[in-house]
Symmetry: C2
Subunit: 459 residues, 2 copies
């Protein structure tokens, strides 16, 4: 770890102690068991731990108070050294992260009184949190009491990315862009979704990164969180790939592209693609400090509705259609979310990060799935990811068909049956004057996508 | 799911109810959260559930009593259908696995009295097990009371693979063999361990399978459970790859090969490789019903010791060296383990499956890590995986250096410094007359390995 990162970590801790007087304990967590205890899922350290400690340690705790950092970690046992090799000692790790002191884990109870914390995901560490603090630690989604004040302070910090965070996001995005290119290039010769997924993830693994979330690589794009890859792919299909790398320090990436398996969009696919792209471009063009993220969502919805009106699928005035949530029949999710160490950054805290104080999720069909409702400020990183889907659970719902009977031309919609799902997603960093698309190197224009699919030079 | 599999599942359940009178509840378990609750690790259903129910369901329970099967599973919610697509209904799943009845999960408490169970790995489901059964369910490693009788019955069944299981193991092995070939082929042009790992895992993902365990792909083979891929690779290095596929039904594969990065073993590497291979071949040649698996371990150790004596690294009589555990300085682990739905089959039950009743782990340096100590019988699947490693934690340990001062020629050993770690691992099915190597299509001979490395025809 370099001096710059060490200085960054120190600055983050300093900013935290300016906001939180109580001592803070942050657990790294442990990898959960898969099918037996010696066969574990890959370890993913808690993002809050990573933000202040920088290293993806396993079964470690840091204590922050008044700018001082203490590391609690047990040294490798002799058996551990046999199976896992020599690793740095506790003191070496402590030096690497700029800790002022380091102790074994059994020294933790004595340093725990009155500490605030954030619940980790793995059950074993959560139990340890409760035992050591001698109180309930509310599992994620509802930090309470002293922990709530800490959570709010961490949100304030992590919402605004520092230079080190932005560099890490760029690194993660670069791997993801290369991975999507590889997926496009292999598609015309691939027989299954699994083969395309494998080509994409290969690039991420080859970059010594991992997946920030379960990849979606499917010709059934209308299944929003499709996590299986068993379908055959064929010319005429659109393939939707929502895949993002996560680099070793934990920083995530999140990109979606939709491309034709044959390398050529059909006229109907291209028409809808261009509508989604117009929504995507308009939302990004409007993203800048002082703008409500929710307005970007509504703007994307409006552009989408207008495009569908132009195509004869929706009927009426775009603005009215959006007010009636008619767009949500085809675009049922939010336009995006925070991005950082987590692909939905800080979603372990429920809506504490995504929603400004005093705001709550809407119960409107067209807004309830919006994960972010804040005034944008420089340093925020968000995704912009409008889409168009033909979801049977929505379009065949008799209640909705009746509700929107006057808004949809079903006969015209039937012309677009080769468009199951399209999403175009980029990562957007809010700058002082506007925004920067961190994933701009991966084209979005239909012609450019067509050129990349199957082009040998693209890998 | 075909009729054959349904019949197999029925036969397995019938055999279980012949052994266990009490009703049995088996949980599938749920995927644990990674960094927030909506971002989960890939779901891996409990192997005991898979063995009797056949489908990798999430958050499901089966009840077995007197040959009758009941499925407990909640239907997809409307929101679930939006995000995850339509899935078969409870009744469709029930028909697929040949269940006699199907209920929602809230019907479970009424059907739970006096049921035996096996603890699952994920904390949420384990908690549910305790709540619904109204008693402690000992987490893995120590099934107790009624659960112990059930565990012993399941072990008796799962130790002896039926035709369906053997077919599944073959399928998993075939993907793994192709994956290793791809890894060998890419090695001479790869720059890092990560690139080789990516080429190997790509084949597994492209086959719509997953990894049975965290891959080991490293030029530092002396780190037995090396789970990182950050090293550069260079001509002169040996690359050790211990990678196995797991197919959708859960059946695992487990294969290790060690190959020269350049495509050519150095004379010292080849000499040690041939010693390890001789140990591997001898153990497999001796594997048949009625043989103690422990004897295969001792045999491999003896052949290894003899080879190291011939090379001038060890001094003394091979048999005496093995009695003194001198071989374990270079071969500190067991010669293999059970293989099935789990890569270490049924290791969630501690040593209940691996060790015959009344047997316990030895505290001897050369035997304590042996995971299997049973009389082999037809239908067992085991791995045979001897190795040679130069582990600093062992070879630089002053106590061991003194203990084995007369047994090792340190000067001669220094000639072999380019051999960090070699392991050769195959899957072996015990047949009625001997054994069959399930992974025999992947060569082990040094010359054949050299031909595959970098050979374009090998992918």
């Amino acid at each position: 770890m370099g001096d710059t990162l060490r200085a960054t970590l120190r600055a983050r801790r300093q900013r935290l102690c300016e906001r939180v007087a109580a001592p803070v304990l942050l657990w790294s967590g442990c990898a959960p068991a898969r099918n037996f205890s010696a066969n574990r899922y890959p370890h993913r350290a808690s993002s809050h731990f990573l933000y202040f400690a920088g290293l993806p340690l396993n079964d470690a705790v840091v204590r922050l108070e008044g700018g001082r950092l203490e590391l609690f970690l047990d040294d490798e046992t002799p058996a551990g050294a046999l199976w896992h090799g020599a690793r740095p000692t506790r003191d070496e790790f402590a030096a690497a992260i700029g800790a002022d002191a380091a102790y074994p884990l059994d020294a933790l109870p004595a340093r725990s009184p009155d500490a605030a914390t954030i619940a980790v995901q793995d059950a074993r560490s959560l139990q340890q949190q409760c035992q050591i603090l001698g109180r309930e630690v509310a599992p994620a989604h509802a930090p309470d009491g002293p922990d709530r004040e800490l959570a709010a302070a961490i949100v304030a910090l992590r919402l605004v990315h520092d230079a080190e965070a932005i560099a890490a996001l760029r690194e993660s995005a670069a791997i993801t862009i290369a991975a999507h290119r590889a997926g496009m290039a292999v598609t015309p010769t691939a027989r299954t979704e699994a083969e395309v997924r494998a080509a994409i993830e290969r690039v991420i693994l080859a970059g010594d990164a991992t997946l920030a979330y379960t990849s979606i690589v499917t010709v059934r794009g209308e299944v929003l969180h499709n996590g299986s890859y068993g379908n055959a792919i064929a010319p005429g299909d659109l393939l939707l790939a929502d895949v993002g790398a996560e680099i070793a320090s934990g920083w995530a990436s999140d990109v979606t592209r939709t491309w034709p398996v044959s390398g050529c969009f059909s006229p109907t696919q291209r028409a809808i693609y261009d509508v989604v792209l117009a929504a995507h471009d308009a939302a990004i063009a409007a993203a800048r400090p002082g703008v409500e993220y929710r307005e970007l969502h509504v703007l994307a919805a409006r552009i989408l509705a207008a495009g569908l009106v132009d195509l004869g699928i929706l009927k009426g005035h775009p603005e009215t259609l959006v007010e009636r949530d008619a767009h949500a029949l085809f675009f049922p999710h939010g336009v995006g979310h925070l991005l950082g160490l987590d692909v939905h950054d800080m979603e372990d805290l429920g809506d504490l990060a995504g929603y400004a104080p005093g705001r709550e999720r809407s119960d409107r069909f067209g807004l309830g799935f919006l994960r972010l409702d804040r005034l944008l400020q420089a340093g925020n990183a968000v995704t912009i990811e409008p889409g168009f889907y033909q979801v049977p659970a929505l379009l065949k719902d008799p209640r909705r068909r009746e509700q929107y009977a006057d808004a949809i031309n079903w006969e015209r919609l039937a012309d677009f049956r080769d468009v199951r799902g399209i999403r175009i997603e980029d990562e957007v960093l809010i700058t002082t004057t506007g925004c920067e698309v961190l994933t701009a190197e991966l084209p979005t224009a239909a012609e450019a996508i067509e050129r990349l699919v199957g082009s040998a030079g693209a890998v």
